[in-house]
């Protein structure tokens, strides 16, 4: 679309068409994006229809779909997903809240940071997967184990991002606050917390992702219900359709949580002019 031919064409073109263009482009991109999954699905269907791969190794897609519908209709899927959701919500809430408090304390006070940081780093350095067998011996394999593991996974990124966010408040702002002779509380309320919101939100997103991964780990290792358990169970029974359904649900939930938080992040930060 060159600028030159614009005057000739503009009157004859209905405005709606120009508005439609991004929509059309979006639809085209969407169609192209579906191409590869469609091809994979087709190959998968052909492969299993002609028994190129044994059905035990790769059940036909229609089985997976039917299995999904059965599990949904039977309430089984919702039950497992609900149990997983409750665990993540509990662990995440505890871990993120503690992480926020600890992060604020470490961000505001050098003394607290000096005392706590090395121990915190040592604990954070041992991955969640290392804590699971250890805590299994302490806590058993009940609900407490899951909550503690998920909370620990959520706590670490929360502390790191919160403390760094508070430390990262631009010096110039602090100086302005000093000029205005802000009290300690005013400084916290008007300057430090608002400036730290974006990194804290990054921390929340990170925490939730980690919490979800930790849930899968802990449910794979020690659980009798939940989405992770569905995977283990499917493997033991050699029900690949159940496993594939569980994998897709785990992916979808992770995706949805991240997207929702990304939207919330954008909305929360809409007051920032510099974006």
């Amino acid at each position: 679309m060159t600028v030159l031919d614009l005057p000739h064409r503009l009157p004859s073109r209905p405005i709606s068409l120009r508005l439609l263009r991004p929509l059309v482009a979006g639809l085209r991109d969407f169609a192209v994006a579906l191409l590869l999954p469609a091809v994979i699905l087709l190959l998968w269907a052909i492969g299993s229809a002609y028994e190129l791969v044994p059905q035990q190794i790769l059940p036909p897609p229609i089985y997976v779909w039917e299995n999904f519908r059965d599990m949904l209709a039977g309430g089984e899927l919702l039950q497992h997903a609900g149990i997983s959701a409750v665990r993540v919500a509990g662990g995440f809430a505890i871990g993120a809240a503690l992480g926020l408090l600890l992060g604020i304390a470490m961000g505001l006070s050098e003394v607290v940071d000096d005392y706590v940081r090395p121990l915190f780093t040592a604990i954070a350095q041992v991955p969640t997967l290392g804590w699971i067998p250890l805590l299994m011996l302490f806590l058993g394999i009940g609900e407490a184990l899951k909550i503690v593991i998920i909370a620990k996974a959520a706590l670490v990124p929360m502390v790191l991002n919160t403390s760094a966010g508070i430390r990262g408040v631009p010096k110039a702002y602090v100086e302005v606050a000093d000029v205005f002779a802000f009290t300690r509380w005013q400084k916290l309320r008007r300057l430090i917390l608002p400036a730290a919101v974006p990194p804290i939100f990054t921390g929340i997103r990170y925490s939730l992702t980690k919490a979800w991964t930790a849930l899968v780990a802990v449910e794979l290792l020690a659980s009798a219900e939940g989405l992770g358990y569905l995977l283990v169970w499917g493997r033991q029974m050699f029900w690949l359709d159940t496993m594939i359904v569980a994998m897709v649900i785990i992916g979808l939930v992770g995706f949805a949580m991240d997207k929702i938080l990304a939207l919330a992040e954008a909305w929360l930060q809409s007051w920032r002019i510099d974006g």
Partner: protein, 270 residues
């Protein structure tokens, strides 16, 4: 996983910015861990806690010595590291190739990009059961899983890096009528390198975690993960704790090595 690598970056910047009186800070930093260890040791010796749950520190040291002397520890560590490196190498090579393809070719990016971004949402651990069905329960499946774990961050960062070549640079290439290959070699690859290295760095850490995860969930064999699981099954807390310490230490060292390599390879940017 689409979030930036916040953790290590933040840590280094915040410690570097406040470098006052290191000895003072060190003393404060050691206080809490030391108190904790003393409390541990005391409660274990005074039988406040069942020593089966909280074995005294010297018991862990003795276990460590036994494991080292019998050579078992090195056997386990060697098995884990070999697995880790094999999977990491495969995953990284495939990840860089796949990422460059998607990042450099708009057509490939549009076709395969969305599928990749959707598939990466599945928590890596959720692949374990299906991989173990497809590749058996032995070594192959473990290496495949480690490769998958390393592949995702490498591919992701390579795509971002390849797409991030500065526009003026590309325009200069056009003015100089560079061939397609020259453009890739002289403009796209160098500007993608920092991002690719970030991906490889992340891939190395993910690969190590995946190694341990594979050893947990697939058949028990030699390896640090196997050591921990065996310790848990026999209720030998010392063995579990030893394994966890090694797990953390190896992760720390791998991270450290990767940082050094990254800094060295990117010296030309300064």
């Amino acid at each position: 996983m689409s979030l930036p690598l916040a953790e290590p970056a933040i840590e280094t910047s915040s410690t570097a910015s406040r470098g006052w009186r290191p000895s003072h800070r060190l003393r404060r930093g050691l206080m809490l861990p030391l108190l904790l260890l003393v409390a541990w040791e005391a409660s274990s010796h005074l039988r406040l806690v069942d020593p089966r749950f909280l074995p005294p520190l010297e018991a862990i040291a003795i276990t460590a010595r036994e494991e080292i002397w019998s050579g078992d520890l090195f056997l386990h560590l060697g098995a884990s590291l070999a697995r880790n490196l094999a999977g990491f190498a495969i995953g990284t090579l495939l990840g860089v190739a796949f990422g460059l393809l998607l990042g450099l070719s708009p057509v490939a990016g549009r076709i395969a990009g969305p599928t990749f971004h959707a598939a990466k949402q599945i928590a890596v651990l959720a692949w374990i059961p299906i991989i173990s069905v497809w590749f058996g329960f032995a070594e192959t499946a473990k290496v495949v899983f480690v490769a998958v774990a390393a592949f995702v961050p490498v591919a992701l960062n390579t795509i971002e890096g390849a797409a991030s070549a500065p526009k003026p640079l590309i325009e200069v290439c056009e003015v100089l009528t560079f061939s397609r290959w020259q453009r890739i070699r002289r403009a796209y690859l160098p500007s993608a390198l920092p991002s690719i290295l970030t991906g490889v760095h992340l891939g190395l850490i993910y690969a190590w975690l995946a190694t341990v995860a594979a050893e947990y969930f697939m058949t028990v064999g030699p390896g640090i993960g196997g050591l921990i699981i065996a310790g848990r099954e026999r209720f030998q807390m010392e063995l579990v704790m030893l394994g966890v310490v090694i797990l953390g230490t190896v992760g720390f060292l791998l991270n450290h090595i990767a940082t050094l390599v990254e800094v060295r390879l990117l010296r030309w940017r300064a």
